[in-house]
Every structure is written in structure tokens, then in C-alpha cells.
């Protein structure tokens, strides 16, 4: 059986992360994703971070399962070829600055004219309009405005900190995936295409809000609580670990694990709501006790008492973590240009329509001839276009 999106074709003009990571998840689900790039260097993220064989590692991971087409959209013929592709597709995605696709003649209306029920996805940083709509956007800018860096402020120093992964781009891309899937379902059921818009700022704030903005949700006189997510990572004898109590049973388990029966009935800690209020005091006791044990010892104690706990994996540890290995999360494969590589498998396990990794990330325009031939271009047409530089 094929993936959920077998038979769906996506023409993907996006670059960097917010679009490509989204279309990669759709590609994993079986969609035929055609990555359209300008001839030459193509997507700027091809050259960011670790590179081998002319391709950055992060690019190779988030552009798997795609075919590459190079087209100069500024030329009349390039635009015509693009619209022919659109006519054969279900979904178009773009993350140019607001207004650019309309100027180029490849916006929603132009695509709808050649494919009536097209699903057209526009991804922006800040939205179509507004004070920052024209700004250059990368992930940290959205982290700053949407509150991630503020929320990440180190307790005690008041200095904002970044989340050290491209969190906002990737959240936006998950919203993109949902937008495409929601629109595909609606088209299947109700028959129409539509224009779907996702702003990184909007997607990021919607994701961050429920827990991180909980003190700003109830307006007026609601009493503030200690922020959630200020996880306490105490030092063991030989490193750090995480131990975490939510239920009252787990609190009792914690008292046994750290051999502190004297606090098991302490009114500050014995019940969920009071425990949240007195988290700091509990952390002090907790830190003093766990420092007596090695990480392995203390994690084993917690696990025995059914208190959530784990050792903290660094990047290298991930590669040999027994549960990650057991889950088969890391696939080792061989990229034709970049050589041996690791990539995570698609995380969703579908019982009947399995996702899969079927292709490596392509070089710029690697499948231009193949894809153009599929939409009716002859070898002669293609050669003529190449001569004119339309295909690079």
C-alpha cells in the first residue's frame, strides 16, 4: 500500500525551512513534490551548515522525497512551463516575500486560472500586511517577536535566550502541513480548492501560547502561578538529569526515591496546586538530595518509584540511545553525492498507508527534463529552452 498522499502532486517554490520542511512531511506521506528553483544556486539553504557533495546536511534531510526542477520564472517560457506544471498539480506552495508571486504572475489567481481547484499555500514571516510585513525574516526574528526568546529567559539573569534550533520555521512548516492536509480533505469532500495562508508569527504564537502564556490568558484579577516549563535540571554526582513530578502519587514516589519521608505529608507539597506554588522550595530540597547519587543511580531510583526521569542525551548520545535505536528512528542511507548519511524516519506510523523515504534530496534541477516531459514538453522543446537559459 502507498502513503496517504499517493497521487497528489505538489509544486513547491519554497526555500529555506518553513516551506521545505512542510513539503518534506507531505513527501514522506507519498506526495510527488516537485521543487522548483531558480537555475544556478537554487534554494539558499543548500549551502547552510555542514556540506558534502555540494549539499548541506540539513538541506538533504528536509528535501528528501522531492524532485528538482530549475526554471527561470522571470522569463515568459519559464512562467509558461511553471503554469503547465501547476495544471498537473493539486497544491502549490510559496514563501516569497508578500506580493512577489503576484508580481511574477505565479500567484493564486494565475494558478487558479490554469487549475480551477488548486490549493495554493502562501507562507509569510509576519503576514501579508502590517508594520513588519516587508521585513527580512529568519527564524530568530520570529523567535524574538513571537516570545520564544523572552520565554527562554534564564531565571535569575533576565537575559533572553534563543531556542537553539530553528523552532519557529519548523513550527510554521508543521502548520503548513496541516493547512495542506486540511485543504486536501475539504477539496475531496466539498470539491473546491482555496488559498491558504500561514504566517510564521501566527503559527509560532499559537504553538507557544497554551502553557507559556498561561499567566496572560485569564485577564484581570487571576492570580499568577509560577511559569510552567521552568524545568529544574539538578546536578547529580556526575552530570545532569531530569526528574519531574505531576501527580500526587508521583510526589510520594519522589519522597521514597530521595529517601525523604519527612516531606511526604508537608502541606506545601502534598497536593497538585500547592505543589505548583511551592515548586522553588521543593527544588531546593530535591537538588540537595539528588547530588548524592550518580545519574544512573538516581534515574534508576526514580524509575523504580514510577517518577518520570531521564538522563539528558547530548547530540552524540542520541545516536546510541537504546529506545531511539529500538524505535528505528535513525535511518542510515547513502546519498549519491553526499555519501553515507543519517536521517530520521517519518515519525507517524500509518497502519495501512505507510510513509516512506523513496528518494534523496536532488541537486538543483536534477529532474527538470523528466518532469517537463511528463507535462508534455518534447526533447526538442527542452533543448531549446535550455539553450535560452530558461532552465539554467
Amino acid at each position: 500500500m502507498h502513503g496517504c498522499l499517493h497521487g497528489i502532486r505538489i509544486v513547491d517554490m519554497t526555500a529555506n525551512v518553513s516551506g521545505p520542511f512542510g513539503t518534506a512531511m507531505l513527501g514522506d506521506m507519498g506526495a510527488d513534490v516537485i521543487k522548483v528553483e531558480a537555475p544556478g544556486n537554487g534554494d539558499i539553504s543548500r549551502r547552510y551548515g555542514m556540506m558534502r557533495g555540494g549539499m548541506a546536511a540539513a538541506f538533504a534531510v528536509i528535501n528528501r522525497n522531492k524532485r528538482g526542477v530549475a526554471l527561470d520564472l522571470q522569463s515568459a517560457e519559464g512562467k509558461e512551463a511553471f503554469l503547465k506544471l501547476v495544471a498537473s498539480a493539486d497544491v502549490v506552495t510559496q514563501n516569497f516575500r508578500p506580493g512577489v508571486v503576484d508580481r511574477l504572475g505565479v500567484g493564486y489567481e494565475a494558478c487558479k486560472a490554469v487549475k480551477k481547484d488548486i490549493i495554493y499555500i502562501s507562507i509569510s514571516g509576519f503576514g501579508d500586511s502590517g508594520p513588519h510585513a516587508g521585513d527580512s525574516v529568519y527564524d530568530p526574528v520570529i523567535q524574538a517577536v513571537s516570545g520564544y526568546m523572552g520565554v527562554q529567559t534564564e531565571p535569575g539573569t533576565d537575559k533572553p535566550m534563543p531556542v537553539r534550533t530553528i523552532v519557529c520555521d519548523k513550527i510554521a512548516s508543521m502548520s503548513v502541513t496541516q493547512g495542506v492536509l486540511g485543504a486536501l480533505f475539504a477539496r475531496e469532500r466539498f470539491g473546491m480548492g482555496q488559498h491558504v495562508k500561514i504566517a510564521m508569527l501566527d503559527a509560532s504564537l499559537a504553538f507557544l501560547w497554551p502553557d507559556a502564556m498561561s499567566n496572560h490568558t485569564y485577564m484581570g484579577d487571576a492570580p499568577r502561578m509560577p511559569e510552567m516549563g521552568i524545568y529544574h535540571l539538578p546536578a547529580s554526582k556526575d552530570g545532569y538529569f531530569v526528574g519531574f513530578v505531576v501527580t500526587d502519587e508521583q510526589f510520594q514516589g519522589l519522597c521514597r526515591a530521595i529517601e525523604r519521608p519527612d516531606i511526604a505529608n508537608d502541606p506545601r507539597f502534598v497536593e497538585t496546586v500547592s505543589r505548583q506554588k511551592n515548586q522553588k522550595a521543593l527544588n531546593v530540597i530535591f537538588a540537595a538530595e539528588v547530588a548524592k547519587y550518580t545519574t544512573n543511580e538516581i534515574v534508576a531510583r526514580f524509575q523504580r518509584e514510577k517518577v518520570p526521569a531521564a538522563k539528558i542525551n547530548n547530540r552524540v548520545d542520541i545516536l546510541s540511545d537504546p529506545q531511539i535505536l529500538h524505535n528505528g528512528m535513525i535511518i542510515e542511507t547513502e546519498h549519491p553525492d553526499a555519501g553515507p548519511m543519517r536521517t530520521p524516519r517519518p515519525p507517524i506510523i500509518f497502519g495501512e498507508t505507510p510513509s516512506s523515504i523513496r528518494r534523496h534530496a536532488p541537486q538543483v534541477g536534477a529532474h527538470t527534463e523528466e518532469v517537463l516531459a511528463e507535462v508534455g514538453y518534447s526533447a526538442g522543446d527542452i533543448a531549446a529552452m535550455r539553450k535560452k537559459g530558461v532552465l539554467g
Partner: protein
């Protein structure tokens, strides 16, 4: 037209965040989400964070648009009622510990027996098998194992740091949303129902990997500075900003904005790949100048030179941020019980099938009678079941 999932009905047995945040997004898209809880306190998350009228703020945000039914699944006759409900829904979702649903006779096969094309979603922390599968799981445990805390480590001290919001639960929820949407689409195309499994660990790692594990993607390649070294947080005279320069034009723009012409001309900084290992020193040069300027001044200078940059919003700044206000991103609702509540509107803008917030989060079992009437339970039967204590 209403939301993309108009007419889709979801029976939601999940608690905490990984499930409820997912069904919250599907509810925004128009699905009729039935939140089934044990009679009594119900979902643990009802009591986490600032509370008003017996309901915590994060719970109120994640469980909007849902109807609640309270049912004691262990009571005699409860299972029959459960399966009558299953017959009327498209999706069942659960995040009990692995094996629990099968043991109590409410697993995929049991549900499929009464509804042939059911989409059954199982969410777990570590997976259904493997060394950690039976462990208690909360967000920080998955942050520790999947690498978020390791990646977040302080670059100077190496001490692991948490991401200070419930990132792994919410990432799993975004992944589950995709799994459900894709399975609904596949069913619509004639592929029937299926069992869909999502593991928080797998979803976290798949989300984290592309950029954060880029040094571990190409096996055997020499490591480069992590992509997160591109992130800069700098102190101004009156606050904090973030800025990032990736392309050559952004680097040149930064040098102009900060009046650093020598840096701009220095051949060792020519080219994005060449700059990558020197980010630390470049950012130190820039930060020195930035410390002498006000936030407004530096943001204007960077904007003029098209260098991505932003003032860092703290929690209390978010509701007044001009772009957030412009995007009408934050809804304010005056609820008779909860008072004034604010939270972000659905992030994905569908032009034809708009998502919406139609009702606030329910009390435990608030809609029990209404839902049971809909599935054909008569008034007499309802009274009998009530007297047997099925609903608490």
C-alpha cells in the same frame, strides 16, 4: 462555508497536552470533538497553571471547541455505551500507557469491529515496546532523551538547559494532527480506516533533527559549528535584540549599519561558508557596537540595511506588539464563568473553509446528556444508566 473538517467527529480520550492540543487544532478546523473523561476531576491538565472557575488557563486554551462527556469506562454497561459512541465517529484518539486500551477491551481491533473504517490514533511517550516504553512520560523527559535539552546546552558551560515551554508534547500534537488529517484524506480516497501511531520521542527527534543534528547527518564528515551559532542575542542600551546575517548582502548591510567598514572588506569573512566558523567573533564585534545604541536606533539601522533583526518581546510585550495587533492574532473573549480570556486565533487561514473558535472549554461531562441523546440514548435509558453511576 465552515471549517475544513465540518462533519468529522472525533472521540478524544486523551489527557494532558500531546492529545488535547492536537484535537484542539482539529476542532478549530471544524471537527466535532467529544472529550471523554473519567467522572470526577477528569483530565489532569484541568488543574495545571493559573486557575479560574476550576479550570486552568492552558486547559482552557487547548480544549476550546470541544464537548465533554464523562463516562466511567470500568462501570458495567459503560463499554456498550462507548462502542455506540464509536459507531458515530470518524476518529478515536487515545494517549493511555501502551497496552492499556487493548487490556480494557477498547483497542483498535475492538473499535474496528463496530466501525469498519475507524481511524484509531495511539499516542505514546517512548513507543509501544522497547526499554523505556513503560516509563512515565512528561514533556521534560522527552526533551531529555530526544536531545532538546542537550541541543539547548549553554555554549560556554556545556550545562544542559530545557526549552522553557512544553515543546515535545506540542510537537507530538502537531504530528498527531498531521497523522489524523492524512488518514482522513486517505479514507476519503477509498483506503479505509487504519491504526495510526505517534510516539513523542519519534516526533521530537524528527522535528529536531534537520538543523540541530546536521553535524551527525553526514557520517564521517568533520564537524562544523552548529547552525544555532547563527543566532545572536545582544544587549542594547535599553533592552535586547536579535539579529542574523546569513547572505553576503546581509553581512555587508550589518557592517554598514554598525559602521564597521574594515570588517566588510576583510577577506576572511567573505562568503557565507567562510563566515560560519567565525560567527562568534563577528557577533562579538557587532554586539560591542549594539551595546552603545538604543533598541529603536539599532532596529531602524538594521531595517534600513535589510538585515533581519527584531526587538525581543517578553511575555507582557506580546499583546501590544504592533504586528501581532495588526494580524488580529489574539482573541479576547468575555466568558460568563472564566471572565475575560485571551488566546491566539487559529493560525492557518483557509480562504474557503475558515477555522473558528465556536465554544470555550467544557467542564467535565458538561455535554454528557446532549451527546448521549444524539446517539439515540432515550431519556429512560439515560436515567437508568445514571442511576448505575456510569457518569459519576
Amino acid at each position: 462555508m465552515s471549517g475544513a473538517l465540518q462533519g468529522v467527529r472525533i472521540l478524544d480520550l486523551t489527557i494532558n497536552v500531546s492529545g488535547p492540543f492536537a484535537t484542539g487544532i482539529l476542532g478549530d478546523m471544524g471537527a466535532d470533538v467529544l472529550k471523554l473523561e473519567e467522572p470526577g476531576p477528569g483530565d489532569l491538565a484541568r488543574r495545571y497553571g493559573p486557575m479560574r472557575d476550576g479550570m486552568a488557563a492552558p486547559f482552557a486554551v487547548m480544549n476550546r471547541n470541544k464537548r465533554a462527556i464523562a463516562l466511567d469506562l470500568n462501570a458495567p454497561g459503560a463499554k456498550d455505551l462507548f462502542f455506540r459512541l464509536v459507531k458515530t465517529v470518524d476518529v478515536v484518539i487515545q494517549n493511555f500507557r501502551p497496552g492499556v486500551m487493548d487490556r480494557i477491551g477498547l483497542g483498535y481491533e475492538h473499535c474496528r469491529a463496530v466501525k469498519d473504517d475507524i481511524i484509531y490514533v495511539s499516542l505514546s511517550g517512548f513507543g509501544e515496546t522497547g526499554p523505556l516504553s513503560a516509563d512515565r512520560v512528561y514533556d521534560p523527559v522527552i526533551q531529555a532523551v530526544s536531545g532538546f535539552m542537550g541541543v539547548q546546552a549553554d555554549p560556554v558551560t556545556g550545562m544542559p538547559q530545557p526549552v522553557r515551554h512544553i515543546v515535545c508534547d506540542k510537537t507530538a500534537a502537531m504530528t498527531a494532527t498531521q497523522g489524523i488529517l492524512a488518514a482522513l484524506f486517505a479514507r476519503e480516497r477509498g483506503n479505509g480506516g487504519q491504526h495510526v501511531k505517534i510516539t513523542m520521542l519519534d516526533a521530537g527527534l524528527a522535528y529536531l533533527w534537520s538543523d540541530a543534528m546536521s553535524n551527525h547527518t553526514y557520517v564521517g564528515a568533520p564537524h562544523l559549528p552548529e547552525i544555532s551559532t547563527l543566532l545572536n542575542v545582544a544587549k542594547t542600551l535599553d533592552g535586547f535584540i536579535t539579529f542574523i546575517f546569513v547572505s553576503d548582502s546581509e553581512f555587508q548591510g550589518m557592517c554598514r549599519a554598525l559602521n564597521l567598514p574594515d570588517l566588510a572588506k576583510d577577506p576572511q569573512y567573505a562568503g557565507p561558508v567562510e563566515r560560519m566558523p567565525k560567527m562568534k567573533e563577528l557577533s562579538a564585534f557587532a554586539s560591542e557596537v549594539i551595546a552603545t545604541l538604543t533598541t529603536a536606533d539599532i532596529v531602524a539601522r538594521f531595517a534600513k540595511e535589510q538585515v533581519p533583526c527584531a526587538r525581543i518581546n517578553l511575555r507582557e510585550d506580546l499583546v501590544n506588539d504592533p504586528q501581532i495587533v495588526h494580524n488580529k492574532l489574539i482573541m479576547e473573549i468575555d466568558d460568563p464563568k472564566l471572565g475575560k480570556v485571551r488566546f491566539p486565533r487559529p493560525a492557518i487561514e483557509f480562504s474557503k473553509t475558515p477555522s473558528s473558535v465556536r465554544s470555550m472549554a467544557p467542564k467535565v461531562g458538561q455535554h454528557t446528556d446532549e451527546i448521549l441523546r444524539e446517539i439515540g440514548v432515550s431519556a429512560d435509558e439515560l436515567a437508568t444508566l445514571k442511576s448505575k453511576g456510569l457518569f459519576g
